[in-house]
Amino acid sequence: MSGEAGLELHDVRGPSALGGGWRRFTELLLLLSVTEFKRTYFGTVLGYFWSLLRPLLLFAVLLFVFTKIFRLGSGVPHYPVLLLFNVVLFGFFSESTQAAVQSVVSQESVVRKTQFPRMVIPLSVVLTAFFNLGMNLIVVLVFILAFGVSPTWTWLLFPLIVATLFVYATAVSLLLSSLYVRFRDTAIIWTVMATALFYATPVLYPIERVPSTYLDLILLNPLTPLFIQARHWVIDPSAPTAVSASGGWTHLLAPIALFAVICALGGWYFNHEAPRIAEEL
């Protein structure tokens, strides 16, 4: 065509999950999630307290029920801290995925009227929830130290858990948000499923209390080994590891496989749907 820079013709391929290059993708992602995060935390005076209030209230209720009524916590070292820790971790997963379900549809005007890498939208929701998790973990740390849990070197491994949880939440969010474009009852179904998952993950109960008949079932949930391992590394080194709780490596193959399948499915399906999202809305 012409020798001038920037004048070479390039193909216009239409919308996609990542379109526009990595730089644009990360810029948009960070800007959207930081803006949303700032809005919740600095938009109102009570912003931070409100976002803390939810896990703390839930924690207080659960603590009362399971230490005073069911006495599930008796004999479990640092049960109150463990409960808070688990509630905050699971809170990240359920909040991010539930917010992500409708995210693409609710950003309809942007999706239909700008050239926009579609994947940014659910990802920014997960990232905002991730920032929230960071803020909540600061409070959890205060509680952990206040309840006399002594720091160990294995705390350094905790980011691995968080990273894996983040990947999983992202994959589930991608899958749900693109399914929601086609099937509007995805949101209702997921609300119920998220509640079911709450009980299918060792959040309230320690894994060693699970009858061995149901252990493999609970272990199918990819979140389960993560929560077991997090407890072992952060709260109570005497608690079983994911491997020992499940009874050997082989028992972990199922959740690992499921994890991989969901990640692949989420990424693939979103990518597959992305070019047509604007038309389906």
Binding site: M1, G6, E8, L9, G14, P15, T35, R39, T114, F183
Partner: protein, 421 residues
């Protein structure tokens, strides 16, 4: 504001191609009965959703050159907005190829992605990044955006506290300050008040004369005639005409306008058909010494001059100058019929009108309505906007015009007769 560089369409055509579309096709599947929940999927596991296929674009090919102001016209549902969305990577074409040089910025609607909970500062950055700038570039243009929108004082005000007028100004300013290589604009002129539309026109005129490439989707033929270097006409997804904007406009008008019948006299009707007949070369106001002026003082005669170029052979054309006030009320009109004369295509007509000024102070718009009788049943017509001006002065009063005359009121001397009580 408009410069002589406007007439360089030949230069533009030699410029390199920046948008190359080849046999672009797009069809939408419109579900007759939509299965949009898992529940329905489960209840009717084998139901195949019924689709009606709507072919929005059928093998459309065209080129746009650098620096060109390119119009896409067609009636609603002709596929013009779909084409723009494909160019903007919002939709994906089913077949064909599109190649583009440089970065496009789509403006399908004003203020896309504005978040009312955020301040203007944050929104301008956000919108800039959405349109493809880096964060630093987006922040860098904040000042020029606010300057153009005249909203510097409100930079930290949340958009929810903006008036709708301020919002439109900000959104429009964001659009024209976009430093994109190719602007893709859809019907922006359709929103906003008269002053805003005027601003749009000024900006479009500047864009036409600048090096920017603009693709404008519209069904305003006046915009096509005054801004576009070239235009194309889409009808039912097919390309009907591409090239000269006036020819495109003419075909659009002929194709789309049902003939409007008006009765003249007894049992006689003629059809009024919109057409492209002429183009405004320039229009201005003069004072008594022949100097050009922008506005007229109350009571001073209005001396209007215009040069109009015929774009078709006009036989016995009628020119009517209409004055409209700021409320859109037509105050008066003056006719001139060039009976028996022929104005050939390309010839200039010089129009001059001197009007005794009885207008109240205010803003007025002057348009020139050109009409040609084609045959006994059909009259072609076009409205050209000439100019806007202000009648200034302190004199106010009721009504639209000041008509000379006296009103007298006096008390009657003799008492009223008893019986009338």
């Amino acid at each position: 504001m408009s410069t002589e560089r406007g007439k360089r369409s030949n230069g533009v055509r030699d410029a390199p191609v920046v948008i190359e579309a080849r046999e672009v096709e797009k069809a939408f599947r419109i579900p007759v009965h939509r299965i949009d929940s898992f529940k329905e999927r489960v209840v009717h596991p084998f139901a195949q959703p019924d689709y009606r296929t709507l072919e929005a674009l059928k093998k459309v090919s065209f080129d746009v050159h650098r620096g060109e102001f390119f119009g896409i016209v067609g009636r609603n549902g002709s596929g013009k907005s779909t084409l723009l969305k494909i160019l903007a990577s919002i939709y994906r074409a089913d077949a064909g190829s599109i190649r583009m040089a440089g970065r496009p910025a789509p403006f399908i609607e004003l203020g896309v992605g504005f978040n009312v909970e955020l301040s203007a500062r944050e929104n301008v950055t956000l919108n800039g990044v959405m349109m493809g700038l880096s964060q630093r570039e987006a922040r860098g243009r904040l000042d020029s955006v606010l300057d153009f929108a005249e909203l510097e004082e409100f930079v930290d005000l949340k958009l929810k506290n903006y008036s709708s007028g301020m919002l439109v100004r900000l959104a429009f300013s964001v659009m024209i300050q976009a430093e994109a290589d190719i602007l893709l604009i859809d019907e922006v002129l359709a929103v906003g008040d008269a002053a805003f539309k005027q601003k749009c026109r000024d900006v479009f005129r500047e864009m036409r004369d600048s090096d920017r490439t603009v693709v404008l989707v519209t069904h305003d033929m006046n915009a096509v005639q005054s801004f576009c270097h070239r235009a194309m006409l889409l009808d039912n997804g097919e390309l009907r005409q591409i090239g000269d904007p006036e020819e495109t406009g003419r075909q659009y008008l002929r194709m789309n306008f049902a003939k409007r019948r008006i009765s003249i006299g007894e049992d006689k009707e003629i059809a009024l058909v919109p057409d492209i007949l002429a183009r405004l070369s320039e229009a201005w106001l003069e004072d008594a010494r022949g100097e050009r002026i922008d506005n007229v003082e109350v009571g001073e005669p209005i001396r209007l001059r215009a040069r109009i170029e015929a774009r078709d052979d006009l036989e016995s054309p009628t020119f009517r100058i209409n004055f409209t006030n700021a409320d859109g009320v037509q105050v008066f009109g003056l006719d001139h019929e060039m009976a028996g004369e022929i104005l050939e295509s390309g010839q200039q007509a010089s129009v001059s009108a001197t009007v005794e000024n009885q207008l109240m102070p205010g803003r007025y718009t002057v348009v020139c309505w050109v009409a040609v009788t084609r045959n006994e049943e059909e009259t072609a017509h076009q409205t050209l906007k000439l100019l806007e001006f202000v009648v200034f002065g302190v004199e106010g009063g009721p009504g639209l015009v000041k008509v000379p005359g006296d009103v007298g009121v006096e008390i009657e001397k003799s008492p009223a007769p008893e019986g009338t009580r």
